[in-house]
Symmetry: C2
Subunit: 359 residues, 2 copies
């Protein structure tokens, strides 16, 4: 009997590894528990079903396999998947076609970060067949580094703000005409007084001071500064986009009934998922590798039977977001990993240098 004896990964014989790998890959392919007989006939393993049964029993007691019920085949456990990903998996080479498809599509709508991310998740979802998601992390200290004012006509102007490399704009209208000089005066004033300040650091005395400086056009200050504060506050960054939610339905064994509901709610609430991205990644100055969270490893209980594969997106050394894929634990890991890796890299390059560049 021996009861349970976990955490002895070194002692896996070569044949056990081979069997485990075969089981996992068969299960990823079929989505059903896989039995000993299937293995002998479809995967080339040089022993009989009985032997495999023995090995499977051992693998189960080691915690790498599970049995849904007594007379069913085996299913990989989370530990099994983890082992598989860490040491058994064959790395997937994207084909020329795939790379080309990624590249051309990614270029299509590269106007702004949002646009890029949107196309990226669309791509990720359509090419992996899982639900894709992208996050912009919550920023710690949000400040405007540069202000600019554009007069569009007599009584309206556009305030352009550069926040951490992202451009935000805001319309300003006035009931009375605004003089050319007034707007440029306001612009320099904003740059001098407000650049580098967080919303919390913009105080009433500061605003009153600015009103004094503006002289005749002091009435402009209040609405503009208010607007700036709002924009800064609104720019918490924390945003999450999805594509291909309907693909969850391709895996009814996992996302049938209640589960689906949980998942949709998770997507809608966004907060939990944002936390995963933010807490795990953004703070630790980790290297930018592809991260994989399997089932319980996720902090969010809803994702017990799901896997999250994602990779951060950087602009220089700055972390601006992350892109990934979420799906059932039985996921085509090698392909997804390669895909996300490539995509994230592509997006990073795109925002790195806005102008043309080939790879």
């Amino acid at each position: 009997m021996e009861s349970e004896k976990r955490s002895a990964p070194k002692e896996l014989s070569e044949r056990k590894k081979q069997i485990l790998k075969a089981i996992i890959e068969a299960h990823i392919e079929l989505g059903e528990p896989v039995g000993s007989k299937y293995l002998t006939s479809n995967k080339h393993i040089a022993c009989s079903s009985a032997t495999i049964r023995n090995e499977m029993a051992e693998l189960e007691s080691m915690g790498y396999l599970e049995q849904p019920h007594t007379s069913a085949g085996r299913v990989p456990s989370e530990a099994g998947y983890r082992l598989y990903i860490d040491s058994l998996i064959d790395s997937y080479r994207l084909t020329e076609r795939e790379i080309e498809e990624l590249r051309t599509n990614l270029r299509k709508k590269q106007a702004e970060l949002d646009g890029i991310l949107d196309t990226a998740i669309r791509l990720a979802s359509s090419m992996t067949d899982y639900t894709a998601l992208a996050a912009k992390p919550r920023k710690v200290r949000v400040t405007v580094s540069h202000f600019d004012i554009i007069r569009t006509d007599e009584r309206s102007m556009i305030l352009v703000m550069l926040i951490g490399g992202i451009v935000k704009t805001r319309q300003i209208r006035s009931r009375v005409p605004i003089a050319e000089e007034a707007s440029s005066k306001l612009e320099t004033l904003l740059n001098r007084k407000l650049s580098g300040l967080t919303a919390a650091e913009i105080t009433m005395p500061l605003m009153m001071e600015m009103e004094r400086d503006m002289g005749a056009e002091d009435y402009l200050v209040e609405p503009v500064v208010k607007g700036i504060c709002e924009t800064i506050s609104a720019f918490d960054g924390g945003e999450l986009r999805f594509d291909g939610i309907d693909r969850l339905l391709s895996y009814p064994e996992v996302y049938g009934g209640e589960r689906l509901r949980d998942m949709l709610t998770l997507f809608e609430r966004k907060q939990d998922l944002l936390d995963v991205f933010s807490e795990t990644e953004m703070q630790t100055g980790d290297d930018g590798a592809v991260k994989i969270y399997i089932g319980r490893e996720n902090l969010v209980k809803t994702m017990d039977n799901s896997t999250l594969v994602y990779k951060p997106i950087k602009r220089g050394d700055l972390l601006v977001g992350a892109i990934g894929v979420i799906g059932p634990t039985r996921m085509n890991y090698s392909r997804v990993i390669a895909m996300i890796d490539h995509l994230s890299r592509g997006v990073s390059n795109l925002i790195e240098d806005g102008d043309e560049r080939s790879d």
Copy 2:
């Protein structure tokens, strides 16, 4: 027998109307077919269940009611709902609380149109308990009305474009430093040559002409113009946002199993829904009333058993989008209509005058 005798709405007796109304409201409330007995005991109708049965049989032959199967209660048909909405419904007064909640929440994140729409759908969804959606219509002729260039540092600038009242920006980097004069020269050149042109109207000869005009810095022209074209093309407008997809699951009778899949696919594909918004509304210079599409009335077959309630959003006379709610045909119409009406109005006001204003 008399067989079927439709389209005789005038001949509805007062009692029939009362019964139909009661049935519809009961069905909206309970979600199940409603029987004669239920009506006599729970709604105050001054006759017995047998009488009601007779009336129901007639209403059914007129096409206002349907019977899922022989021994079930009655369910309103689409024609029934239509009649109800057009002439039977009591209009819903939003409570002070509700109005206040809408107002304060709507103000929160009003930095840009996108932001406003996002909060608006979030609000719509949470306050109606249905899935909310907002669309930005496909623009017919997309042109840039004003260009502006901001130098952020020596070798990078931001190109600001005003497209139909919406601001779009784009980063431009250069490997060699750009002189102050060069950027302002480029700016005036862009405004003179490209404002008012669609992407298709920007031709090669035109670009070459601009390169001549730019003189020494002609290398800037190509990437910038290319970027402008991309931005214009990308700005087809057509965009669709959702909130509260998970609320579909509150109506499992309608969105159970296959149906849910269809619905999610519909949401993901976006195109069909965008068409509904665009074709129906954007072209006909219709008045800005709340529109209601019930079941088959929708062009999209997936929405057979759903209702779409929406209202356009205007900026002045310009149509900039629409906001609405989608849900099961058995929807709390009066409340939803009032809500969407108010919300759309609120959003319109917000973008009308960017600065402060109370209602």
